[in-house]
């Protein structure tokens, strides 16, 4: 019970720090001092105190979406291993529940963007939907392969790859890290896929979809986006941390991994330009390729010998 509460607390607070660290890293590379790493939290508080404005053209979908987005990420988070390496709810095929819960949230964010009737938001929605169609199969191929290899179909299997595939397991883990990291960049809308810092409506993907949101709604959307990114960082972290470590070691390792991944995201953002929209798809396809490689390796492992 205490572990569940600690996990929930971690889930709700760490994403703010994670965003702060990314901002700090970018500032470091730009030679600036940067804002405090608590700034995303202050921003959230500021938004909570603001009035929410609704456009006259929007319907109930637009008003409901921020809460749906927030609750779906929280629900999805229950199925993945967090601080202690164990998921809060451990059921079979949890990766399917995880993926489709997030998709539900995304679906609502898409129709909410269309609900505003703005031509910008429609473009953002179409871009976001396009990426999802590539991301989803790749994620299932990768996770399905791991499930086939370990014969465990919850996220616990991430820690069981090495013991099931002694020789090429390390390769599978490496490919999975790449797959999940690209997915993190896409779902988190970071450079080189999207530019979270831009003010240019025509180039945005995620940001343009929430142009009409304000006040508490916007606060919840930003919070849930941060949590969503944290979930992918947590998945990668649980891949790298070995199974069966004492909490004294595994908890600092987990937090260290989150810190490292956030610094990586910030660094990538500072030293690369964003891809041209047509090239973003090529980048997203890398994820499909690594997922298919995992499938090939697993097939070889099961039937090859």
């Amino acid at each position: 019970m205490t572990i569940t509460i600690i996990n929930l607390l971690i889930l709700l607070t760490i994403p703010f720090f994670m965003m702060g660290i990314i901002k700090k890293t970018k500032a470091f590379w730009a030679g600036r001092k940067g804002v405090s790493i608590l700034q995303p939290f202050y921003d959230f508080l500021r938004l909570m105190n603001k009035e929410t404005v609704y456009s006259e053209t929007t319907s109930w979908v637009f008003k409901l979406t921020p809460m749906i987005m927030f609750s779906t990420v929280i629900f999805a988070a229950l199925f993945i291993p967090l601080l202690t390496g164990e998921a809060i709810i451990n059921v079979p095929f949890s990766f399917v529940i995880f993926s489709y819960t997030l998709s539900l949230g995304k679906f609502f964010s898409l129709i909410s963007a269309l609900d505003t009737g703005s031509s910008f938001e429609g473009m953002g929605a179409s871009r976001e939907a396009c990426f999802s169609t590539i991301v989803e199969p790749a994620f299932f191929i990768a996770m399905g392969s791991v499930a086939a290899l370990t014969k465990v179909n919850s996220f616990d299997n991430l820690k069981m790859i090495a013991e099931n595939a002694p020789v090429y397991g390390i390769l599978i883990i490496a490919l999975l890290i790449i797959t999940l990291f690209i997915m993190l960049l896409i779902e988190g809308c970071r450079v080189p896929v999207d530019d979270p810092a831009t003010h240019l409506e025509l180039t945005m993907i995620h940001e343009v979809m929430i142009l009409d949101n304000s006040g508490a709604d916007l606060g919840f959307i930003s919070w849930s986006s941060a949590i969503k990114m944290f979930l992918f960082e947590a998945l990668i972290a649980s891949l790298i941390i070995p199974k069966g470590l004492a909490p004294v070691i595994s908890i600092p390792l987990f937090l260290g991994a989150i810190l490292l991944l956030s610094v990586m995201v910030g660094t990538i953002e500072a030293i690369t330009a964003r891809f041209r929209m047509t090239h973003v798809f090529e980048f997203v396809f890398i994820m499909s390729i690594t997922a298919l490689l995992i499938l090939t390796l697993v097939t070889y492992g099961i039937y090859g010998n």
């Binding site: 473009m123 030293i271 690369t272 041209r276």
Partner: protein, 483 residues
């Protein structure tokens, strides 16, 4: 003779300007192949006289002529359909004098009556329309952009401006010798417009300013070029989400404009130039400061540009984005840095044989895309730095000369043209005076007036998400167009 030939900064009596017909203009323009730099009307009691100014870039001569429309003539056959370079000029003339160019393919409001503007429309199931502006997300000037797209691809961009129309030309007529007003024609080209204004007024008053003042003015003009080009390179980096470029170029630009602050008390050089000379000297300590600042700027710009032009993610964003071919550039009559990036040899500092400059056209791969415009900015910064170093060397010889001389009286019934190469391109100021030496017509042409259409051409068949990048690579002025 259909044309009177003059040089830059030369005045003539208006009686020396011949009168021709529209058909003669059509034939001459076709035959001479000179570039149109002025096409503006003036009320003359009953009639309207249309002044036409052409520039022969090879010889550095300016050709002036005029066409008289008597009161009952309300239309003429448009020149735009044969020569697209007349496009905006004819729209402007129609708007101001209500003489209609018949069969003009794009006769829409230019600066006024935006509510009557009818946009080009494409029909089709998958065509969608995106309207941007007039108020934009960044803190920039107002302007409306209308895209016709299929998916991510832009078929047509229509630009509607005029929100910044302040009546600059009328104001310049009302207040004589008002350099502060000329500086505000276009806020990012303070030195450029002020220089053109001062030169045209000095021409009209037969004022011979000292060489020292001439050189200080040119140093300021080149400093402005360096500062804006660096700022634009930073903005281009920012639009590609290349953080490093955006921040370092931003810091470097500050070095340049802070030096301008030390010279003139304004970071943009406001108050530096006045009719008759300059208000501030560049003494030896200041000369050293400029030289050491330029050294540092050159080092930083070199370093960052080299990194960026080697970085695949940056090159991939810039190359083949927003291409305008040399042919298109020539046809629409685009000018300045953007035209040079498409391979045009067009620089009034060189063409009009300014005696202080020793410049040559920069040789580079003028591919007409964002990459070329980025690269040309870098090369022009380097060229300007060398030029300023040369100016400072000469400046030492004129130590004893005066900064400012008193100006004379404006000559009556005169016509004068002054062309200055601002950082964006050629700035043309034309003035006509009346019989008592009062100004009766002041015409300003900012390079943006020619180049906005170039942006429309650049984004055709590009992704709509590349529009901001294309836009920044031109960095055109709204108020320069709207006046």
């Amino acid at each position: 003779m259909n044309w009177t030939v003059i040089e830059n900064n030369q005045k003539i009596n208006i009686s020396q300007i011949p009168a021709i017909t529209i058909e003669q203009l059509r034939n001459d323009y076709n035959r001479l192949k000179y570039r149109l730099i002025g096409f503006f009307g003036k009320k003359e009691e009953e009639n309207t006289r249309l002044y036409v100014v052409l520039c022969d870039d090879n010889e550095g001569k300016i050709y002036v002529s005029s066409i008289v429309f008597s009161r009952d003539v309300k239309s003429y056959e448009a020149l735009t359909k044969d020569f697209p370079a007349f496009h905006n000029f004819e729209r402007e003339f129609y708007e101001e004098f209500n003489i209609e160019p018949l069969n003009h393919p794009w006769l829409k409001p230019l600066r006024q009556n935006q509510d009557k503007y009818s946009f080009f429309e494409m029909k089709g199931e998958e065509v969608h329309e995106v309207a941007v502006g007039p108020i934009h997300a960044g803190v920039i000037e107002p302007g409306h952009f209308r895209f016709m797209c299929q998916g991510e691809k832009v078929y047509e961009l229509e630009i509607m401006l005029g929100y910044q129309h302040r009546g600059v030309e009328e104001l310049l007529i009302k207040s004589k010798f008002n350099n502060r007003l000329a500086e505000s024609v276009c806020g990012d080209t303070v030195i450029g417009h002020n220089l053109a204004y001062s030169q045209v007024m000095e021409t009209l008053t037969d004022t011979q300013i000292t060489d020292k003042a001439q050189i200080i003015r040119r140093i300021a003009l080149e400093l402005e070029r360096i500062a804006v080009h660096i700022g634009d390179m930073g903005a281009i980096s920012g639009d590609m989400a290349y953080l490093m470029g955006a921040s370092i170029f931003g810091v470097t630009r500050t070095l340049v404009i802070n030096t301008m602050l030390e010279i003139s008390g304004s970071r943009f050089g406001r108050g530096l130039i006045d009719v008759g000379g300059v208000n501030f000297d560049i003494d030896e300590t200041m000369q050293e400061k400029i030289i050491s600042m330029l050294k540092e700027v050159e080092k930083t710009v070199d370093k960052v540009t080299k990194i960026m032009l080697k970085k695949s993610s940056c090159i991939s964003r810039m190359e083949r984005t927003g291409i305008v071919t040399k042919e298109q550039t020539q046809t629409i009559g685009a000018v300045g840095m953007a035209a040079r990036a498409s391979g045009m040899m067009l620089d009034s500092r060189i063409d009009l044989k300014d005696k202080f400059y020793n410049l040559d056209y920069i040789k580079f791969n003028a591919s007409g895309d964002v990459h070329a415009r980025f690269n040309l900015r870098y090369l022009e910064i380097k060229q300007s730095i060398e030029q300023i170093k040369d100016f400072i060397k000469i400046l030492k010889e004129y130590k004893m000369e005066k900064l400012k001389v008193p100006y004379g009286v404006i000559s009556s019934n005169s016509f004068a043209v002054s062309i200055t190469e601002g950082w964006r391109g050629e700035i043309v100021h034309c003035v006509i005076t009346g019989k008592n030496g009062e100004l009766v017509r002041y015409k300003v042409k900012d390079p943006s007036f020619n180049n906005w259409y170039m942006l429309s051409l650049a984004v055709r068949n590009n992704g709509i998400s590349d529009f901001p990048l294309c836009n920044k690579s031109f960095n055109l002025s709204y108020c320069g167009n709207d006046l």
